[in-house]
């Protein structure tokens, strides 16, 4: 079942071709009217907290270094007390899967709540709209200004807006790069105009993307570019929360005096003030039924409730509801879809938590010396040479003890008095294994290297290699 298919009588007349034409028509600029009310306050709360998290996080410190640093140049991700390495990429992939499943789960229950309150596209568009309103004035003034021919005043206002937009976008781009290279040094180098070519490229790239998406593309991103907007209807059912107009109550719509009795005039509760259309950031008329453009921001609910209050009518002509409730049936929160999405989500979360807790912050690789198969020492022992690569992925330095097994009386020789690796360091350690020729049964025998941290037996790694001899 798709949202676009749920037509009320008003939209049922639209042929597919009309819908398709409107999809490809050149988009006219939408001037959403400012709205006040419960949901508008919730969205401002969402926008401010998310923007706050985005702009502040890279400046947080933990143990004397940046708390969240996806250090691409050093191939290490620092997330507070955890350090992730390229071999931990699987955890990142698992996190993305969990995020996706959570989105499915939330969508099935609460509809496109993500779109209306938390999507970066919404968040930055709100911020850009706020700047636009501060500079150009409300919807009416903006439309009037745009209709005017260019004048010194218009140029001044437009230039101010563009400057503020660009400055905000620039700061956004700088912050973005600050997640990938240490932001303190990045800031210092920015002030000294000494950014590297690629840092400069990414600051400009991300700033430009922010400026374009939030300043100009806006609702078109949701309509034409967003994959989620296209497939979210697959998660919908008749119990999913949607924003909807109640036609039974509102129709027939028409203007009237506040004192007039709508029943006597044969009118419904909708006074046809079109405020719900004016506040809509995607420029649709919610009274035409559920439409794929609707991002469930509920600006129309706030606007309409306000009007209903002024008219002395009951609120909720446009409201959050479900298809079942609208048709007088019971709505259920717990239903097979929710249980299945929830079970998969929790299952993967548990698997992730378990596997992450089992993660060992120690890497061991054993590379046989390829130049010679084996060598006979002066004391008639058979010797193989290996290079061990020891990677300490923990947050502190460790001393390790190394053992080998697999052949009786196998001797381990190395030049270092002890194995010590700094946090985040890699040690290349050449070692020699020696054994009496009599102990070897075959040309090639498997040997096992076992590395254990001296201060923490849980930090251990085992790796196998071949020992070659003359037999």
């Amino acid at each position: 079942m798709s949202v676009v298919d749920q037509k009320t009588p008003e939209t049922a007349g639209n042929t597919d071709e009309q819908v398709e034409k409107s999809l490809y028509a050149k988009a006219a600029k939408i001037y959403p009217r400012e709205v006040h009310g419960l949901f508008a306050r919730l969205r401002v709360l969402g926008v401010l907290s998310l923007l706050g998290i985005y702009y502040i996080t890279p400046w947080l410190r933990w143990d004397g270094q940046q708390a969240l640093l996806l250090d691409l140049p050093a191939r290490k991700f620092h997330i507070f007390f955890i350090t992730l390495w390229p071999q931990d990429f699987i955890y990142l992939a698992a996190l993305l899967i969990i995020a996706g499943l959570t989105l499915f789960f939330v969508t099935a229950i609460a509809g496109r709540i993500w779109c209306g309150y938390a999507c970066p596209q919404t968040v930055w568009t709100e911020a850009f709209l706020w700047i636009e309103r501060k500079v150009e004035g409300d919807r009416g003034r903006q439309q009037k200004l745009d209709a005017q021919p260019m004048s010194l005043r218009k140029f001044r206002i437009k230039a101010t807006k563009q400057f503020l937009w660009l400055a905000f976008a620039g700061w956004t781009g700088f912050t973005f790069v600050g997640y990938f290279t240490p932001i303190m040094e990045l800031g210092q180098r920015l002030v000294m105009l000494d950014l590297g070519p690629w840092e400069t490229f990414w600051v400009i790239f991300y700033s430009f993307a922010t400026y374009g998406n939030a300043g100009f593309m806006r609702e078109q991103v949701c309509k034409y570019m967003c994959p989620y907007a296209r497939f979210q209807s697959a998660m919908f059912d008749k119990d999913t929360l949607i924003v909807s107009y109640v036609p039974e109550r509102g129709e027939p719509r028409g203007s009237r005096k506040r004192s007039a009795d709508p029943k006597a005039l044969g009118l419904g509760d909708c006074i046809d003030c079109t405020l719900c259309v004016q506040v809509c950031p995607t420029g649709i008329d919610i009274r035409n039924g559920l439409q794929y453009e609707c991002i469930a921001c509920s600006a129309c609910i706030d606007a309409c409730d306000d009007v209903m209050e002024k008219m002395g009518y009951e609120k909720g002509l446009i409201k959050y509801t479900t298809e079942n409730t609208m048709h007088g049936r019971m709505s259920h929160i717990i239903r097979p879809r929710i249980v299945i999405y929830g079970a998969i989500m929790l299952g993967i979360m548990a698997l992730f938590a378990w596997s992450f807790s089992q993660r060992v912050s120690l890497g061991l690789d054993v590379i046989r010396d390829r130049n010679q198969l084996y060598r006979e020492t002066d004391d008639d022992l058979i010797e193989n040479v290996y290079t061990l690569k020891i990677l300490n992925m923990d947050n502190k330095a460790h001393r390790y003890s190394l053992r080998v097994s697999g052949i009786e009386d196998l001797e381990l020789r190395m030049d270092l008095p002890e194995i010590r690796v700094e946090s985040g360091g890699v040690l290349e350690l050449p070692v020699r294994l020696q054994v009496e020729e009599d102990e070897l049964d075959a040309r090639s025998t498997e040997v096992k290297f076992m590395l254990v941290a001296k201060d923490d037996p849980a930090l251990s790694a085992t790796e196998t290699a071949r020992f070659l001899g003359p037999h």
């Binding site: 034409k21 490809y24 691409l72 140049p73 690629w198 990414w202 034409y224 570019m225």
Partner: protein
């Protein structure tokens, strides 16, 4: 309908999905290979890791864009063949 799609939307339809795909490709490729271990055409490059990542990303984007253009071209020409009367731009 294919002829009525504005050019800007065609560009978005090609550039945007290929952008997303190249992010994934870059992540997968460079988590498996350290740029410092790579010797393209047997040469040691003097570009920083950030530079290699960026070039890698742009390269993946280029490749997937070319593929996207191909898909769009075949889809549109196929539409035109099925509806020969409707020839536009």
């Amino acid at each position: 309908m294919a002829q009525q799609i504005p050019r800007s939307q065609k560009c978005i339809a090609v550039l945007w999905p290929s952008f997303l795909v190249s992010i994934v490709a870059t992540g997968l490729f460079f988590s498996a290979f350290d740029p410092a271990d790579l010797y393209p055409f047997g040469k040691d490059t003097e570009i920083s890791r950030l530079g290699i990542y960026s070039i890698g990303f742009l390269f993946f984007w280029l490749i997937s864009t070319i593929s996207g253009i191909g898909t769009l071209y075949f889809a549109i020409t196929n539409c035109m063949r099925q509806d020969p009367g409707n020839r536009g731009r």
